[in-house]
């Protein structure tokens, strides 16, 4: 992956956001929960140095219908100026459709026929300064690409190709999650805006096109129940505050930072608060994690090892813990000081 700086120096930028893929709009809604930074922080120019941002998102737009779609048509005709294309929802296979369509956004002004989302991606992705896939559906296909689905849908990189480069020379930027963790997206966007302003190098992405600083660690590595795992102490049902791997948690093999970061401003999460990790940030989601409430196949082997080793460790720790829970004997209210105090210590 290239790491050369792109000194673009843009001072104004549009965000064209389509949530008309196979989506639930949950990623848009999630982003309104972000506070680090918040959407309004970015739009109102609170973060110094970022370009001025014009957001075109269906859920929040003041304009309706044609007035809303105008920016998309302008971008298609090279009349808008630099823009970031954000795609939410998976991309259906419209080749299996006959005369119909699985999803569309707006009508063709000439024919009056619906314009499919696929057509919009074909038109806009090559012209975009950057292309961002938000949510696991847009990144890798997600829940709507489950086995047995009728639409044959896929992720953006499946559709555009893994070697795709935007007009700004960037690969697709994937921010997975179902929904996307609010601050993860806003932070990725903030990096891109810094980069667009010429203040940051190319965003560091891994080979699945995820920001490395957000998706480089596993759920388990950030989980505060990991200590129970190490001690071989597992929950047998959902009443327990202990490690959930034996009742369905896939955290040890899933790249996601929610246990470490919390869901919103440190509140909430998944296994750290009693919710099994179902792998919703992963390319293999959901099929490779179902049935969700069964123990992951790898879990039983490693849990057996940590069970044997852990029970011994737990016994030894419990002895030490016992000692640590007792105060030293010189803390008392008797008439004689027993702390070992010696005013001439070291002089004798």
């Amino acid at each position: 992956m290239t790491t050369t700086q792109t000194p673009t120096g843009l001072d104004e930028l549009h965000i064209l956001w389509t949530s008309e893929g196979m989506s639930c709009d949950g990623d848009t809604v999630s982003v309104t929960a972000a506070s680090l930074p918040s959407l309004e922080d970015v739009l109102l120019g609170l973060v110094p140095g970022l370009p001025k941002v014009h957001l075109h998102n269906k859920v929040l737009a003041t304009e309706v219908g044609d007035a809303f779609m105008a920016a998309f048509h302008q971008a298609h005709h090279d009349e808008l100026g630099p823009f970031i294309l954000v795609v939410e929802g998976s991309i259906p296979n419209e080749r299996i459709n006959g005369d119909g369509f699985w999803t569309s956004m707006g009508n063709d002004p000439v024919t009056g026929e619906p314009i499919t989302v696929n057509e919009w991606i074909d038109r806009l992705a090559p012209k975009a300064w950057a292309v961002v896939a938000i949510g696991t559906c847009a990144t890798y296909g997600g829940i709507h690409a489950m086995a047995g689905n009728p639409t044959g849908c896929m992720g953006l990189a499946d559709y555009l190709g893994k070697d795709f480069r935007s007009a700004g020379g960037l690969p697709i930027v994937n921010v997975p999650g179902c929904p996307v963790q609010p601050d993860n997206f806003m932070e990725t966007l903030t990096w891109l805006l810094y980069q667009a302003a010429g203040m940051a190098p190319t965003i560091p992405l891994d080979d699945l096109l995820r920001p490395t600083w957000l998706f480089g660690k596993t759920v388990h590595e950030g989980c505060d129940r990991g200590g129970y795992y190490e001690q071989g102490d597992f929950a047998h049902d959902y009443n327990s505050p202990k490690c959930l791997v034996r009742v369905g948690c896939w955290g040890p093999v899933v790249n996601c930072n929610v246990t470490k970061r919390g869901w919103m401003d440190g509140v909430g999460g998944c296994p750290n608060v009693g919710g099994i990790c179902i792998g919703c940030t992963m390319p293999g989601f959901p099929d490779k994690f179902m049935p969700f409430m069964d123990e992951p196949p790898g879990g039983s082997v490693s849990a057996a090892f940590s069970g044997a080793y852990g029970s011994l460790i737990r016994r030894m720790r419990s002895i030490t813990n016992n000692t640590a829970n007792k105060e030293p004997k010189w803390r008392h209210n008797r008439r004689r000081l027993t702390s070992g105090y010696d005013p001439r210590w070291g002089n004798g």
Partner: protein, 581 residues
């Protein structure tokens, strides 16, 4: 002129209208949806315990409602009753969801239609009058004139617009405390929850609730002032978005002392819910019995992109009480998608089906709506007169809501009275009141939950087995209204699963009898109050009406105006002789 998509809703919605500008009236309206994903198709053959995780992903703003409804259906199928504390935790999570969702939608999406910037573009005369109209409740909310209220909702710059974004975050944190995360919960399971029920989790919720109470107490009188102003300043505005009172509510918030998830007792425990299920027809409460409600559900086709399933397999011939179940009931539905060209004139034009409720007395297939959710919930609860928690009391004609003292405001009693109309304004007004309802209920649920914790009853999960053969149904009120999940299990796998959220009811197209869906019905005949002529027409009253239902489906709205010309071409003889028809 076409407007596609309609913004400031969740999902893609399509509405095509024909407008008679001479008579200032909408002549015809069709509602379309342009997105299909196929949940009921790809859920077949999956493990039933996956259902709530999967169905949550149906919706990005009310997914937790689906997860909860699915858990209710699974509890029935597995024959499991969660510990009481788990029910209180779910109720608290759902109360927070209502508070979050209604606040974000009302103040950041709907209210943009009533903000200064928008009113200036559509009804400058009205704005001038608003500048000089004193707000009756200024003492409570602090805005001197109606125009000051409108200014407070200008997108991203208005004071209340920005404060609402903040409140929507705090209330989402409350939801996360109970359900792990938002909007797709992590800690909900059939049989209970995984939430760690320490005193801390309830304290963290309570403190946040108290922090948003001041906001809610100002919001309700502010909404009243603005909506009353519309009635007063624009005589006849009550006709905007008005349709026959034909409301459905499937009940919300289980009472753990009553619910056992046994279908045979569903009538009793349904009536003990803290929002009473019911069907209100022309002001009369037809039933509060969830068994009646269940058996009356029919999914019709007529204008949708599907093949019929009349000749397909019947999964459930009789319910557990021995009542026959119709082939058009969700338990027996087979979804057969058939993508095709959109034909708005004479054919199929939507991915949405047409849910209806069969009224045995008359043989009518009623196109029930939810009034966006709150209107039907408050109406049904008020008439039933069953709810009384101390914080909320249904009187038979109204709902009293008691909010405790908060940071800067004293205790406050609000009363929502059954309105004279089911129209755009009353749908929106009810939404503000229901936020207060949910907050007052949360106060009650917190007391009950802490009572359990203090008594040492901290179990939150009951174990269960998945049977080889079973059926289940879940009834819940999503934020936008009625939500049902119907599941059939065979060989331990999902054989059939059909979720019916509120928006398919509200956004449905014409059915096989030609009956328009609720958006279509509410917009048809709508009088136009906008001051703009056809050339700069924004359709604000139509937008307000569609948004009053709080649309939440992947759809796309267009309007088909054609400056009068199109009307001539597609015209039906009863409308406007002046248009040459």
């Amino acid at each position: 002129m076409s407007w596609d998509p309609i913004t400031r809703i969740i999902g893609n919605l399509g509405i095509y209208t024909k407008i008679d500008f001479n008579n200032r009236e909408v002549v015809e309206c069709k509602s379309t949806s342009s997105l299909f994903r196929g949940y009921s198709v790809f859920m077949k053959g999956k493990d039933p315990r996956d259902a709530h995780f999967i169905t949550s992903r149906i919706c990005g703003i009310c997914g937790d409602n689906h997860a909860v409804c699915s858990i209710y259906a699974q509890n029935m199928a597995y024959g499991v009753k969660p510990p009481p504390l788990a029910e209180w935790i779910i109720n608290l999570g759902e109360a927070a969801e209502y508070m979050f969702d209604h606040t974000l939608f009302q103040d950041n999406l709907v209210f943009v239609d009533y903000c200064e910037q928008m009113v200036k573009e559509t009804n400058p005369g009205l704005l001038r009058r608003a500048e000089t109209t004193e707000a009756p409740n200024a003492g409570l909310h602090g805005f001197r004139t109606i125009a000051d209220i409108m200014r407070a909702f200008n997108p991203f710059s208005g004071a209340v617009y920005k404060e609402a974004l903040h409140v929507s975050r705090v209330t989402r944190e409350m939801c996360c405390l109970m359900e792990g995360r938002h909007v797709h919960p992590s800690t909900l399971y059939p049989g209970g929850v995984g939430t760690v029920a320490t005193p801390q989790v309830f304290t963290d919720y309570l403190v946040r609730l108290l922090r948003v109470l001041d906001f809610l107490k100002k919001a309700v009188p502010m909404n009243d002032d603005l909506f009353d102003f519309f009635y007063e300043a624009l005589p006849g505005y009550e006709e905007v978005g008005r349709r026959r009172v034909m409301l459905g509510c499937w009940g919300s918030f289980q009472d753990p002392a009553a619910v056992d998830y046994d279908y045979r007792n569903m009538n009793e425990w349904g009536r003990r819910m803290f929002v009473t299920p019911g069907i209100v027809l022309d002001g009369e409460l037809l039933t509060t019995d969830l068994v009646d409600i269940n058996l009356g559900i029919r999914i019709l086709l007529g204008s949708s992109y599907y093949d019929d399933w009349q000749a397909e397999e019947t999964f459930v011939t009789h319910d557990p009480l021995g009542n026959p179940v119709d082939q058009r009931h969700p338990w027996n539905q087979t979804t057969l998608p058939k993508p095709q060209k959109r034909d708005l004139e004479h054919g199929n034009y939507s991915w949405v089906m047409s849910p209806r409720w069969y009224d045995r007395r008359t043989g009518d297939h009623l196109a029930l709506d939810t009034g966006g959710g709150p209107l039907a919930r408050l109406w049904s609860t008020a008439l039933a007169g069953l709810v009384d928690t101390g914080t909320v009391r249904a009187t038979g004609h109204s709902v009293e809501i008691n909010l405790p003292k908060s940071g800067s405001l004293p205790e406050m009693r609000l009363e929502w009275k059954v309105p004279r109309w089911a129209n755009t304004i009353e749908r929106n007004r009810a939404r503000a009141y229901f936020v207060a309802y949910a907050a007052a209920m949360a106060v009650h649920f917190l007391e009950q939950a802490l009572g359990e914790v203090r008594a040492g009853r901290t179990q939150v999960f009951s174990d269960f087995d998945v049977p080889d053969e079973a059926i289940g149904c879940g009834f819940h009120e999503a934020v936008r209204g009625v939500l049902s999940h119907h599941m059939v299990i065979r060989d331990g796998k999902i054989a059939n699963y059909h979720p019916y959220p509120p928006t398919p009811w509200n956004a449905s197209p014409r059915d096989m009898y030609g009956t328009p869906g609720p958006y279509e019905d509410a917009v048809q005949g709508l009088p136009i109050f906008e001051e703009n002529g056809p050339d700069s027409f924004k359709g604000i009253d139509i937008m307000r009406t569609v948004r009053s239902f709080d649309p939440c489906l992947p759809c796309g709205v267009h309007m088909y105006l054609g400056g009068g010309k199109e009307l001539k071409q597609m015209h039906s003889p009863t409308f406007g002789a002046s248009l040459g028809g």
